[in-house]
C-alpha cells in the first residue's frame, strides 16, 4: 500500500491539531469499520443562524487512527476553514481524498469520518443556537459515538 506524498506530508505535519476552549461546536465521529475516532472543534463567525453567512473561523482536531485518518483530518480542517455552513454540509469524502491526491481504496472509509465529524461539529453549533431543524438537514456521523 502506498500513500501519496500529500498524505504523508499531512500525516507527518498535521495542520490544526488541538482543541478549542469554549468551542461553538464539537463533533465526534467513530469509524465503524476499524474503530477509530476523530473529534473536531470549531469557532463560528459571524455567529448567526444563517448557514450561508456563518463561517468556520477556526478549527482544531484530534484523531486516534491510521496514517490516512490523520492526514484526512488535517486536510479536511484546512478545507473547512473559512467555509460557510452550507458549504460544509455538502462536503464529501471524495473532496478530501482528491485534495490528498487520492487514498488507497481500503482507506477511503477514513475519509468519511473526517467529513462527518466536521459536519457533526456544525450540527452541534446549530443545535446550541436552537436551530435543530437546520441541524437535522446535515448528514453528519451515521452512528453517533460518545
Amino acid at each position: 500500500m502506498q500513500y501519496s506524498e500529500k498524505v504523508m506530508d499531512h500525516f507527518m505535519n498535521p495542520r490544526n491539531v488541538g482543541e478549542i476552549e469554549n468551542a461553538d461546536g464539537i463533533g465526534t465521529c467513530g469509524n465503524p469499520v476499524c474503530g477509530d475516532l476523530m473529534t473536531f472543534y470549531i469557532k463560528i463567525e459571524p455567529r448567526t443562524e444563517d448557514p450561508d453567512e456563518a463561517r468556520i473561523a477556526d478549527i482544531r482536531f484530534k484523531t486516534f487512527g491510521c496514517g490516512a485518518a490523520i492526514a484526512v483530518a488535517s486536510m479536511a480542517s484546512e478545507m473547512a476553514k473559512g467555509r460557510t455552513l452550507t458549504e460544509i454540509s455538502s462536503m464529501s469524502r471524495d473532496d478530501v481524498a482528491n485534495m490528498l491526491d487520492g487514498l488507497p481504496p481500503v482507506k477511503m472509509h477514513c475519509s468519511n469520518i473526517g467529513v462527518q465529524a466536521i459536519q457533526e461539529a456544525v450540527k452541534d453549533y446549530l443545535k446550541k443556537i436552537g436551530r435543530d431543524d437546520l441541524a437535522g438537514r446535515i448528514k453528519g456521523c451515521p452512528k453517533k459515538e460518545n
Binding site: Y3, M8, F11, M12, P14, V17, E19, T28, V33, C34, G35, D36, L37, M38, T39, K62, T63, F64, G65, C66, G67, A68, A69, I70, V106, H109
Partner: protein
C-alpha cells in the same frame, strides 16, 4: 525525511537469507542442475544433495530421515497435514485447532467445515497459552486431528506441545503442529514431544523462501494433495526445488551449530529493547507470555494511539516492524491473536511487533530506543483518547 538506518525488525514475517545459505545454493542453479529423478550422474548428484538436506532436517527436529517431505513452504505443509489426514479416512469428523493459529491453519480448517468436519477452536489465556482443560474436554473418539502451533508468530508464545499431545493421544487423535516460528530458533524434539506431524518453513530461519517441509511420523496416514510423478514417495508430486532444498538444509545446519548462542544474544537485545521502551514510554504493555516466549519476539501495545501511524513514523526512521492494528490489515480487522488473548480492541489497535533476528546489531536497538518515545509523544499529542483518559496533553 531520509535516513541511513535500515533496521529490519520484522523477522517473524520473513528473514533475510543467510549469505552462507545463498553461497551453498548457487551451484545448484547451474552446475548441479539436473533433475534428481534422472538416473545419470548429474541427476544422482542432485539427488544426493536433496537427501543430504533431508538428513540435516531430520537431525534438527529429531525424526527419521524418511519422515521429511519437502513442500513449497509452511502454508503448503499446513494444508497437506490437515487436508491430507482428512482425505485419508472417513471415520473421525472433528478437527481441533486454536484461536491463535496462523491463517494457513485457520483458513484450511475452516475450509474443511465445508466437507462435514466439525472445527473446534481452543481458546487461549491472556498470555496466549491454549486452554488445556478445554482441549481435554473437546478431544474425543471422533477427533481426527489436533493442530496447534508450536509458537505464535505475532506474540511469540510457546505452546505446551508435550501436554497437548498427551491429551490428544488419549483418544487416538493425530497431533499436527505448525512449527514455522520455532524451527531453527529453539530446540525441537519431535520424538520427546510426541508430535505426529510438523510444518516448517525455510524463510523464517534464514533459509530461502518457497521451501519448507512437512514431517510425518512413521505410521501416520495422509493423502497427497499434488498428484503426478513419484516424488517424495508419491506424497508430493513435482520436480524438487533443489536449490531451495539445499538452502533449507544449510539453514538447518547453521541453526544446529548456532541456535543456542544466537538465542542468548537475540534475547539480550530484545530485553534491552523492551526495557528501553518500558522505561521511556508510559502506558505500554507487553503482549505474550512473559517467559514462555520466543527470544526474538517483542509485541507491545501502546495505549491511546494506533499501530499503522506508529509504523509509518518508524519507517521514516528506517525501522521496519509490524502491527496487529485493524488499520494495517487488508480486512480492517484487528489481530485475531490479540483479541483471542482478551485484549480490548483499543490495545490491539495500538499493538506493535518487533521481531529480531540474526542480523540485528546492538546499535540498531539503541536507535529504536532513541526515536520511539518521541514518535509516541507526537502521536499522543494528536490523540483524543490520551487527553480523555489521563487528563494531560
Amino acid at each position: 525525511m531520509s535516513t541511513e538506518w535500515n533496521v529490519y525488525l520484522d523477522n517473524n514475517a520473513t528473514t533475510p537469507t543467510d549469505p552462507r545459505v545463498v553461497e551453498k545454493m548457487i551451484p545448484y542453479f547451474h552446475e548441479i542442475s539436473a533433475n534428481p529423478s534422472s538416473i545419470h550422474g548429474a541427476g544422482r548428484r542432485a539427488r544426493d544433495a536433496v537427501e543430504e538436506a533431508r538428513e540435516i532436517i531430520s537431525r534438527l527436529v529429531n525424526c527419521r530421515t524418511e519422515e521429511v517431505y519437502f513442500t513449497s513452504g509452511g502454508t503448503e505443509a499446513d494444508n497437506l497435514a490437515i487436508k491430507g489426514t482428512a482425505l485419508s479416512q472417513n471415520e473421525r469428523k472433528k478437527i481441533i485447532t486454536s484461536e491463535i493459529e496462523h491463517h494457513a491453519v485457520l483458513t484450511t480448517c475452516e475450509h474443511m467445515a465445508k466437507f462435514g468436519y466439525e472445527i473446534v477452536k481452543t481458546p487461549v489465556d491472556q498470555h496466549g497459552i491454549v486452554d488445556l482443560d478445554f482441549l481435554s474436554k473437546s478431544v474425543d473418539e471422533n477427533t481426527l486431528l489436533v493442530s496447534i502451533m508450536h509458537a505464535n508468530n505475532e506474540v511469540g508464545t510457546i505452546e505446551p506441545m508435550g501436554e497437548i499431545t498427551r491429551v490428544a493421544h488419549r483418544h487416538g487423535a493425530i497431533v499436527h503442529t505448525d512449527a514455522v516460528q520455532t524451527t531453527g530458533k529453539i530446540p525441537i524434539d519431535i520424538d520427546a514431544l510426541g508430535i505426529d506431524m510438523l510444518s516448517l518453513s525455510g524463510h523464517k530461519f534464514y533459509g530461502p523462501k518457497g521451501i519448507g517441509a512437512l514431517v510425518v511420523r512413521r505410521g501416520i496416514r495422509f493423502e497427497p494433495l499434488h498428484h503426478g510423478g513419484h516424488h517424495e514417495k508419491n506424497k508430493r508430486a513435482g520436480t524438487e526445488n533443489v536449490p531451495g532444498i539445499v538452502g533449507l538444509g544449510k539453514a538447518c545446519d547453521i541453526a544446529l551449530a548456532e541456535m543456542a548462542s544466537e538465542e542468548e544474544r537475540i534475547k539480550a537485545m530484545r530485553e534491552r529493547l523492551w526495557a528501553g521502551i518500558d522505561h521511556n514510554v508510559e502506558d505500554v504493555r507487553l503482549n505474550g507470555h512473559p517467559q514462555k516466549r520466543l527470544a526474538n519476539t517483542l509485541n507491545v501495545s501502546v495505549r491511546y494511539i494506533e499501530g499503522e501511524s506508529m509504523l509509518l513514523n518508524l519507517d521514516m526512521h528506517g525501522i521496519f516492524a509490524s502491527s496487529g492494528s485493524a488499520c494495517t490489515s487488508g480486512s480492517l480487522e484487528a489481530s485475531h491473536v490479540l483479541l483471542a488473548m482478551g485484549l480490548p480492541h483499543e490495545l490491539a489497535h495500538g499493538s506493535l511487533r518487533f521481531s529480531l533476528g540474526r542480523f540485528n546489531k546492538d546499535e540498531e536497538i539503541d536507535h529504536v530506543i532513541k526515536v520511539f518515545p518521541e514518535i509516541v509523544r507526537k502521536l499522543r499529542a494528536i490523540s483524543p483518547l490520551y487527553k480523555d483518559k489521563s487528563g494531560r496533553h
